[in-house]
Every structure is written in structure tokens, then in C-alpha cells.
Amino acid sequence: MLHTFVALVSDKPGVLTRVASLFRRLNINIVSLTVGESERPDVSRMTIVCEAPESAAHRIKASLYKLEITVDIDEVGRSEAVIRELCLIKVAAGPAHPLGQSSRSQIFELANVFRARVVDLAPESIMLEMTGSSSKIEGLIQVITESGYTILEVSRTGRMAMRRGHHTSRVLKALGTTNGSGSQVNSPTDWNSQPAADILPNEFPEVHPEEDREDET
């Protein structure tokens, strides 16, 4: 099955290699990986989608935690998070196309239905930009192909994910920042004195299946 992990990692050279190397070592194929800045200047945010058995999720998460560069890891399911990707599609269309000028208007219509935007119009091609779930992007690609158009190029960013609602990184929270953008805490946190609600539970789906129920809606 596909797992989606959000990893907050320190923004330093070589961090991507460490994460990628971990997946190689575990012999797990990365489906997509996006990296970018986060709300904190020294922290990068990665969304990693990988294909692995359901039982592997805990091990991947724990292994990611073991990397010294990791700040926090979260695994997000489809229901609890907004998962999006950006896609650029270049389609052959224009006067030279068998359908002539009407090829362009037909592409425009298809784009409208999928809420894709036209970002470039050239004599021989149209470029579309689309943001959405992976299935929606695949839907547009399928419709364009089935309508007899030739797709010249596709570039997809891979998935990005963010939990819905007032969720912030538990580690950032434990460090004393409630919204993740607050000032850094200088004093070392006494982890044992944290109130029970803030401490992280032992999460073992295989061990306590009842705790995982709410994720399956």
C-alpha cells in the first residue's frame, strides 16, 4: 500500500541523501518525494510517498526518527490530510493538428472541467497547469489522451501533504512553540515532567489495533 510521511528535517547539506539512503537500505521504493521550505527557517519539510506493506509503516517512521537530522515525522492518511500535487502538461494542439483550430478550444474546455489553467500557448502546443489530488491529475491526462490528443510532456511534483485542522508538529509543540513559528526555546525541556497529554504514545498499530480505528474512516 502507499504510505505518506511528512518529515521535518534540518535544512543542511546532505540531508536528502540521508533520507533517500534510508529507503534504499530498507529496500523500499519511493514513489514521490518533495522537499521545500517550512514555516521555520532552519527546518525543511519533505513529503515522502512510498510503496510498502502496511506493517512497514512503523519501522519506516522509527528509522526516520533515528536519523540525527530529523525533527519530526508524521504519517498522514488520505482522510485526515490535504494531499495535493502540481502538474504541468504539454499537449500538441494548434492549426497543424488534424482537428485544426478547434483542437485548442476543445483542450480549453477539458482544462476548464478539471480546473486546470492554460499557462502557455504556442503554435503547436498548449501547456496546462493543474493542482489537485493525484487521481484528478491522472483523470485529466487520461481524458486528453482518450480524446485523441498527443501529450508531449508531463512534469509532476509528487504529493505534498498537510494535516487538516489545528495540527502542529508534536515535537515543535513539546519544545514549547504552539504554532511551530514561535521563538526557539533555549532551556532544555525536561521530558519526563511533560504532562501526559503532550507526551507521545507508543504507537504500534499491530499491537493496539483499536487505537488506529479513527484513521480508517
Partner: protein, 583 residues
């Protein structure tokens, strides 16, 4: 160099040594070369003893042996390129056995990084999967904070090796040095390191319900210093204790609840006890494949409680019912007050009854038939140390192979850190250099190298290091003319096709003599103990070449893919033991 003036300006090389001194380092093992010359130039100004090795692999094994014997972080050092790559085997060995180590390597100047400069190699890239973490330092001012962080990472949580690669220009540049200001932020425990009260209650309940519980004692007991807690725990509930290879000594072998080693070459009653147990308590062990045999048939009747500091070990090989993540000693301290005493000895009696014919089959109980067996040699080394009252002062360092398993079976370890052996990686050539590290850490102890004729030749160059340092190390070469464990597998699984397993050896006693080391050949059982005593009391390095039975096997043995209870036992009528002549 304890200059009280505010922030003296030092070179990067001086900063490195000053930081090592500040971290409490007294000994480093290394080998100089072009890209680390500035560091070696600054060495004379600092109170650190440098042990010059004969091959950098030896340096990393010595740092490893030093760490295993002392519990402190071991430090090794090498130049760029081949120096750094030669460290790799030792770093991987430390990684697999969770040994705290810091490896310092020189690197070409930052201006030429990535240009394939002379002796340039991407050592941080190479060691990425075999270190807990590694660093490339290109500025003098980063050296102190990085090295201090490296020590913290190496020794905190689940320990492991950390490599710090320092470019030559960083070694030569100057920067202000302030040891205290370079301290890393307080150690942040693993965010998943949480043992909730609920899971402790669950564990206690499982223990109270269990009729046939068994403790699996691992290396984590030594690392966390939980020996007393484990003893209290076992005694409180009369729970027998089985040990992993690296757990030997963590729980005293002479204790009535101690069963001995489990796994591929574990004692038969231990493996049977695991298969019959209704509860396994895994204390700081990771269910390695050499311990579990076929996972599908492992401990089929048992609930499992796993206490480990590394969350990624939970449910990795064996699915457990309750996982308690955290430091073993702290976790057991939390559990002990809630653990009601239990004095029923029915289960331990049942386990002891399972020993059955094991004693009859045991090679150690055979009368002297004129042959010398490795098991006898190792058992005699133990008896000799025990008779001399030196057992608590003895460290055995083994290589890898048959002799290693015989050591585990026939040397009865009662104290933690008294056995140093490469368990996870199984590195041949480990024993001699690791023993040098152990002797450097514990000069007052009797250190024994027990190595096979194959593994000993891999790192025999370090004999010269022993003489250079004047270390009185005892070396027992168990010489059977074969790569013994390979031969045993070829006998069992490859139709006795002894492909590349017979090995020619030099005259080891003459080799030792060439280094100025005294030695003796032993091929009779009666000569074993006197020679061992002579070696131990000589106050100098001493090598004994034990010419043992050529085609002996380690038993019991679990074939790959077989379940734990499907052991191949030593035949009661072993043709090898009955014929007077070798065939």
C-alpha cells in the same frame, strides 16, 4: 593547555586535541598521512597517548575494543583516502554491535573537495549507512562543536559510531576555542521514547499470568547498566535467563537461574525452553536471525514483551505483544515495585530437566582420548583463570568462527564486558586489534585473544603494535588448519566439498618470535593449563598455538531455515571422537 584566558586562538588541529582532552579522551588509535599531518603535528602538545597501528582497520577495531572494555567512547584516527576507507570494516563492526566510537579522518582541503584530488575519497558518503551520523567539517571554528556533538551522539540513546571528516585547511586555520560554549544542546531523547504507565501495567499483567516465562538477556543490559535490575527481576519471579552472544556476562552465568546462550549454537535446553515458554521478556536484544531460527516457528506459544531503546527494533523480526521503549534500567526500575514475588520453581526445574542427555553428549565430558579439542582449550583457560581467582579480572576477546562459539559455550562469563566479540557483523580479524584496545582501556586486567588460524592471519600485523606498546596480551590461536566454521557448513550443507576452506598457516610461534613475542606450541591436553598459566603470569605478550582436532564441529547447531527446536545435536557416537587416528 587549560588556558584560563578568554577564548584563546588555536589552530583547528589544536582545537581538535583540546576538545578530545575535554571529552576525557586519554588514548587514540591511528595512523598518520598527508591530509591529517597538521593534526599529528599538534599532538605533542596534548596529554593524549597515540597508539600507532599497523593498518587502519586495526585502529577502528582497537577503538571498538577500548569502548567495549571501558564503556567510554573509543577514538580512532586516519588520513584521507585509503586511510579512511581502511577504517570502514571497523566502523561497520561497531555499528552492528551498537558501540560508541568517534572516528576522525583527515580530508583534502575544502578548496579542492570533489576534484578527485590526491587521496580524496567521499568518506562521509561511504560511511553514511554504517555510522549513526557523520560530519564533514570545513572550518576551524566548527571543529569543537562538531566533535562535542559527535561524542554526544555516539554515547547517547542506542550508541554507535560517528565519523568526523576534517579538511586540511580547517586543521590549519585558526579560531577561538571555548570548550564550554561548544557544548551541544542537551540530549533530546527520541520522540518515540515513551513508556506509558498503561503499557507497563499490561506488561506486569502478562508476567503475573505467565506460567513459563523466560528472560532473553541482550547487550542492552550492559549498555544501560541494568545488571542489578535484571537479577532482581529474575529472582523476584524465579524467571530463567537465556543470553544472546553479546549478552553473555550481563547476567552471571553461575547464577542458578542462568541457562546459557540461545540461538544457532545455543544450548539445547535454552532453545527448547524458548519454544515451550508462554512469555518471552526480551531485555535489550533485537531478535537477530542467529537467535530466532525460522521466524515462522519461533516461540509459538509465547506472548512477547520487548524492552528496547530503539523503536525501530520493535516488531522488526518478531511481533511483540507489549513494547516498552526506553532505557532498560529505568524501565525495569519502574516495573520492579509493581512486580509481586513468585517462588514457584516448577518451570525452572522443568527447564533443568530438559538438559537430559546433553551432558553425555557434551564434548567437555569426554575422557582424554589423546586428541586436543578447542572446547577443552577454552574451558581450561576459564578453569585456570577461576583457579587463580582472576576471573573477574579477565577479558576474553574472540575472533569469529567456531572458536567464538566454543568460547561462548565453554567460558562461563560472570561479569559484564568480560567478553568482547563481533556479534552482528561477524568480523574476522577483529580479535587481535580489539584486544589491544581492551588492554589499553584496562591495563590491570588479563586480556586473552582467542582467534582461529584464519582470522588471526587477517590482522596479525598488529603483533608489532603489541610489542611497541609493551602490552602483556595473551594470544591463543586455535589452529585446526581450516576455516573451521566454513568447513563445518560445507560438511553439513555442501556435501563435504571443502572449497577454499583448508588454510595454510605460518609457524605462529616463529612469527611471534620474529616480533620478539614468546610463545609455545600445545597439542596435548595435559600441556594446556601449565602453558596458559605460564602465559598469564609472564607479564609479557605470549602466543600459544593450540594444534587442535582438524574436523571438529560446533554443536548443537540449527540449520538455516530450521526452527529453534530442530537442532542438530552432537552425535552420541561421534566417529571422530572414537577413532584414534585422523582420517
Amino acid at each position: 593547555m587549560s588556558n584560563k584566558n578568554a577564548n584563546p586562538q588555536l589552530t583547528g588541529s589544536e582545537i581538535l586535541w583540546a576538545t578530545l582532552v575535554g571529552e576525557g579522551v586519554t588514548t587514540v588509535f591511528g595512523y598518520p598521512g598527508g591530509a591529517i599531518l597538521p593534526i599529528y603535528d599538534a599532538l605533542r602538545k596534548f596529554p593524549i597517548h597515540h597508539v600507532l597501528v599497523r593498518h587502519e582497520q586495526g585502529a577502528s577495531h582497537m577503538a571498538d575494543g577500548y569502548a567495549r572494555a571501558s564503556g567510554q567512547v573509543g577514538v580512532c584516527m586516519a588520513t584521507s583516502g585509503p586511510g579512511a576507507t581502511n577504517l570502514v570494516t571497523g566502523i561497520a563492526t561497531a555499528m552492528l554491535d551498537s558501540i560508541p566510537m568517534v572516528a576522525i579522518t583527515g580530508q583534502v582541503s575544502s578548496k579542492v573537495l570533489g576534484s578527485d584530488a590526491f587521496q580524496e575519497v567521499d568518506i562521509t558518503g561511504i560511511t553514511l549507512p554504517i555510522t549513526k551520523h557523520n560530519f564533514l567539517v570545513t572550518r576551524a571554528e566548527d571543529i569543537a562543536p562538531t566533535v562535542r556533538l559527535a561524542f554526544q551522539i555516539a554515547s547517547s540513546g542506542r550508541p554507535g559510531p560517528v565519523l568526523v571528516d576534517i579538511t586540511k585547511d580547517a586543521q590549519q586555520a585558526t579560531a577561538a576555542f571555548d570548550f564550554d560554549a561548544a557544548a551541544p544542546p542537551a540530549y533530546r531523547p527520541h520522540p518515540m521514547l515513551r513508556t506509558t504507565a498503561g503499557s507497563i501495567d499490561q506488561a506486569i499483567e502478562l508476567i503475573q499470568q505467565a506460567q513459563r516465562p523466560l528472560i532473553l538477556a541482550g547487550h542492552g543490559i550492559v549498555e544501560s547498566g541494568a545488571r542489578d535490575q535484571v537479577i532482581a527481576f529474575a529472582e523476584r519471579r524465579q524467571i530463567p535467563v537465556a543470553s544472546t552472544l553479546l549478552g553473555l556476562g550481563a547476567f552471571p552465568t553461575h547464577h542458578p537461574l542462568s541457562l546459557g546462550m540461545m540461538g544457532m549454537h545455543g544450548e539445547s535446553w535454552v532453545n527448547h525452553a524458548i519454544q515451550q515458554a508462554d512469555l518471552l521478556l526480551a531485555f535489550g536484544m533485537r531478535f537477530d536471525d542467529r537467535v530466532t531460527g525460522n521466524l515462522a516457528h519461533y516461540a509459538p506459544n509465547a506472548k512477547k514483551i520487548h524492552i528496547d531503546i530503539d523503536p525501530s527494533e520493535i516488531n522488526k523480526n518478531v511481533k511483540v505483544d507489549v513494547a516498552l521503549i526506553g532505557d532498560l534500567r529505568k524501565t525495569l526500575d519502574q516495573m520492579l515495585p509493581n512486580l509481586a514475588p513468585h517462588s514457584d520453581t516448577a518451570w525452572i526445574d522443568q527447564v533443568n530437566a530438559m538438559k537430559g542427555t546433553a551432558a553425555v553428549r557434551d564434548i567437555i565430558n569426554l575422557p582424554d582420548n589423546g586428541h586436543l579439542y578447542a572446547a577443552h582449550v577454552i574451558n581450561d583457560i576459564w578453569r585456570e583463570a577461576k583457579a587463580a581467582g582472576r576471573l573477574a579480572q579477565t577479558i576474553i576477546v574472540t575472533d569469529v568462527g567456531q572458536h567464538q562459539m566454543w568460547e561462548a559455550q565453554y567460558f562461563k562469563h560472570d561479569t559484564p564486558r568480560s567478553l568482547i566479540t563481533s556479534g552482528g557483523l561477524g568480523t574476522m580479524g577483529f580479535a587481535l586489534p580489539a584486544a589491544i584496545g581492551a588492554k589499553a582501556a584496562c591495563p590491570e586486567k588479563d586480556v586473552w585473544v582467542i582467534a582461529g588460524d584464519g582470522g588471526f592471519q587477517m590482522t596479525a600485523a598488529e603483533l608489532s603494535t603489541i610489542v611497541q606498546e609493551g602490552y602483556a596480551i595473551n594470544i591463543a590461536v586455535i589452529n585446526n588448519g581450516f576455516l573451521g566454521m566454513v568447513r563445518q557448513w560445507q560438511e553439513a550443507f555442501y556435501d563435504k566439498n571443502y572449497s577454499a576452506s583448508p588454510i595454510l598457516s605460518p609457524n605462529f610461534v616463529a612469527l611471534a618470535a620474529a616480533h620478539g613475542i614468546a610463545g609455545a606450541n600445545v597439542s596435548q591436553r595435559k600441556d594446556v593449563t601449565p602453558t596458559v598459566t605460564k602465559s598469564r603470569t609472564s607479564g609479557k605478550p605470549f602466543l600459544i598455538n593450540f594444534q587442535v582436532e582438524k574436523e571438529d564441529g560446533v554443536y548443537p547447531m540449527i540449520a538455516p531455515g530450521a526452527a529453534l527446536h530442530e537442532m542438530v545435536r552432537r552425535p552420541t557416537h561421534d566417529p571422530l571422537l572414537e577413532t584414534a587416528e585422523d582420517e
